[in-house]
C-alpha cells in the first residue's frame, strides 16, 4: 500500500485519476465562510458533512486494516464524532481547510481518524477488538476465491441485458417507489431508515406496503423479460447505481454553493 495520506496517488492502482474530494472540501469550507444566506449555509453544511464522513471512514478503514478492525457501528460513531468535530473547527475558524494543500488536508484527516480509532480502543478496552479479530480469523479460515479480473464477454453482455431490463421495469414505478426499491433491494437498508430518507419521507409501515407492491411489479416485469428474481449477476451494482442515481439527488458541485 502506498502512502495513505496521498489521496489518489497510487501509480500502481487501477485507473489513474487524481482524487477530487480534498479540493471539494476546501471549496465548500471557503463557500461556507462566504455565504450569508442561512439556508444555503445549511446545504453547504450538509454536503461537507457527507464528504467528511466518507473521508474519515476511508482512513478509519485504512488504519483499522493496519492496527485492528473496529465494528462497523463503532466506525460509524467515530466518523460521526470526528466529522462533527471538524465542522465545528471549520465554523470557529480553528481550522481552515482553505489554507492547506489537498495532501495536507488528507494527512490531517488521516491523523484524526487514527487518533479516533486509538481513543476508541482506549475507552472500550481491547475486548471489542479481540471479538472483531476473532470474527475476522474465523472468516479468514475459509478459502478466498479471487474472482477473475477480466471476465468473459458473455458475462458482460448478460449483465448489460439485466441492467437494461431492470431500468425498463423500474420506469413503471413512481420516483419515490424506485427510490424505496433501490434503498431496500440494492442497499439493504431497513424500513425505519428508508422512511427517514429525504427522498422518501414516509412512515415505516407505508414503506413496507410500497415495497411490497414495488417488488411485485418488478418481479412480474422481470419475469416477462425472462429473468428470475435470483438471477442478479455479481458486479452489477455500479451500473444499477448509475441508472438510479437520478433518484438520489444531492447537492451537485457548483449548483448551490456559490
Amino acid at each position: 500500500m502506498s502512502d495513505p495520506h496521498q489521496a489518489g496517488s497510487r501509480p500502481d492502482a487501477g485507473p489513474a485519476v487524481d482524487a477530487q474530494w480534498p479540493e471539494r472540501v476546501v471549496e465548500l469550507a471557503a463557500a461556507w465562510h462566504a455565504q450569508p444566506d442561512p439556508a444555503r449555509r445549511e446545504r453547504l453544511l450538509g454536503e461537507m458533512w457527507l464528504l467528511l464522513n466518507a473521508a474519515i471512514r476511508r482512513y478509519l478503514r485504512l488504519h483499522g486494516h493496519r492496527y485492528g478492525t473496529a465494528r462497523p457501528e463503532d466506525l460509524e460513531d467515530i466518523a460521526s464524532d470526528k466529522s462533527l468535530d471538524l465542522l465545528r473547527r471549520i465554523d470557529s475558524e480553528q481550522w481552515n481547510p482553505a489554507t492547506v494543500k489537498p495532501g495536507q488536508l488528507c494527512a490531517f484527516i488521516s491523523t484524526l481518524a487514527r487518533n479516533g480509532l486509538i481513543d476508541h480502543y482506549r475507552v472500550h478496552g481491547s475486548k471489542r477488538r479481540e471479538q472483531v479479530d476473532a470474527a475476522d480469523s474465523a472468516g479468514a479460515a475459509a478459502p478466498t476465491v479471487l474472482r477473475p479480473r477480466v471476465e468473459r464477454t458473455e458475462y458482460r453482455a448478460e449483465r448489460a441485458r439485466f441492467v437494461s431490463a431492470i431500468g425498463d421495469c423500474a420506469a413503471l414505478l413512481s420516483k419515490r417507489s424506485r427510490t424505496i426499491w433501490f434503498l431496500r433491494v440494492l442497499l439493504d437498508l431497513p424500513s425505519r431508515q428508508i422512511a427517514h430518507h429525504p427522498e422518501v419521507n414516509m412512515k415505516p409501515s407505508a414503506v413496507d406496503m410500497a415495497l411490497s407492491r414495488t417488488r411485485t411489479v418488478i418481479r412480474n416485469c422481470m419475469s416477462e423479460k425472462g429473468f428470475e428474481p435470483d438471477d442478479t449477476p455479481p458486479g452489477v451494482f455500479s451500473a444499477l447505481w448509475e441508472a438510479f442515481r437520478a433518484e438520489l439527488p444531492d447537492i451537485r458541485p457548483g449548483e448551490e454553493d456559490q
Binding site: M1, G14, E42, A54, E76, R147, L173, S174, S238
Partner: protein
C-alpha cells in the same frame, strides 16, 4: 473488504468517493465505471460506500442552532391513532354518501373546451372508504367540491389539510393526482410534476394510472422536458378510453402545428 484494500490493482477508495459525490468529469467517470464493471470486489466496495452515504442521509444532518453546529435528534412524527371500529363504519357511510353526491353530477357533465386538461377522476367508493377516517372523508369531500367549482386555490389548501393516515398509500396517491391536476390548471406545471412524481402510481387502480400519467404529460409538455413529454405522449396514445383518445388528439394537434 480487506481483500479490496490489499489489492493494488483496484480503483482507490478516493476515486470511489469522487464518483459517489459527482466530482469527476465525464471522461474520468467513464474510466472508473468501466473499471467497476470488470472488478467485482471494487463494485462491492462501491456498494458499501453508497450504502454508508444513503444511510447517513437518512439521519438528520448537523444544523446551526443559536450560532452553534449541533446534531439534531430524531423527532418521530406523531402516529395518528387508528379509528375505532364504530368510527370506521360511520366513515364508510359518509364516504358512500359523499361519493354518490359527488359522482352523480359528473356522470352527466358536458364536454367543455379545455376539459381534457381539467381532469376529474371518478373515485370509487372502495378507495374513498379506505380513508377510514371521518375527518379525511369530510376534508376530501370539501376539496373535491372546490375542485369541481374550479376554485383551485381553495381546493389545494383543503387537500393539504386532509389528514390521511400515512400508511394509506392509495388515498394519499388519489389526493396527489387531484392536487397535481389542480396545479396543472393553475399553470404551476413544475409543482404539478413534483407532486405527480411523488405519487405512488402503482397504488392506484389501473385505470387511474393512465389518468395520472396524463396529468404528468400535461405538467411537462411545452417545458424543458419536451423529449420526455413526447415519449410519454406516444406511450399514452395506446391507452384505452379517454386518456388514449385525448393523447391521440393531442398528437394530431401537435403534428398539425
Amino acid at each position: 473488504m480487506s481483500e479490496y484494500l490489499e489489492h493494488p490493482n483496484h480503483v482507490s477508495e478516493d476515486q470511489l468517493i469522487d464518483l459517489l459525490n459527482n466530482l469527476l468529469d465525464e471522461k474520468a467517470r467513464r474510466v472508473i465505471l468501466d473499471h467497476l464493471s470488470a472488478c467485482v470486489l471494487c463494485d462491492e466496495h462501491f456498494l458499501l460506500l453508497v450504502r454508508e452515504r444513503e444511510s447517513l442521509r437518512t439521519q438528520l444532518a448537523p444544523r446551526i442552532s443559536s450560532g452553534e453546529i449541533v446534531m439534531p435528534n430524531y423527532t418521530t412524527p406523531p402516529v395518528m391513532p387508528l379509528p375505532r371500529r364504530r368510527a370506521r363504519w360511520v366513515g364508510a357511510a359518509l364516504v358512500v354518501a359523499a361519493a354518490a353526491a359527488f359522482l352523480l353530477p359528473h356522470l352527466f357533465r358536458p364536454e367543455v373546451s379545455g376539459a381534457d386538461s381539467y381532469w376529474l377522476p371518478n373515485p370509487d367508493q372502495q378507495t374513498l372508504a379506505s380513508l377510514q377516517s371521518p375527518d379525511a372523508v369530510s376534508g376530501l369531500q370539501k376539496a373535491l367540491s372546490a375542485y369541481d367549482a374550479h376554485d383551485l386555490e381553495r381546493a389545494l389548501a383543503l387537500m393539504d389539510n386532509v389528514r390521511i393516515p400515512e400508511d394509506n398509500v392509495e388515498a394519499d396517491a388519489l389526493r396527489g393526482v387531484y392536487k397535481a391536476s389542480a396545479l396543472v390548471n393553475t399553470n404551476r406545471s413544475e409543482d404539478a410534476r413534483r407532486v405527480i412524481d411523488g405519487v405512488d402510481i402503482t397504488a392506484l387502480p389501473s385505470a387511474w394510472r393512465e389518468r395520472a400519467n396524463w396529468i404528468r404529460y400535461l405538467s411537462i409538455r411545452g417545458g424543458r422536458h419536451d423529449k420526455d413529454s413526447r415519449a410519454l405522449l406516444r406511450q399514452l396514445t395506446d391507452s384505452p378510453g379517454d386518456v388514449g383518445r385525448m393523447a391521440r388528439e393531442e398528437r394530431s394537434r401537435l403534428a398539425g402545428d
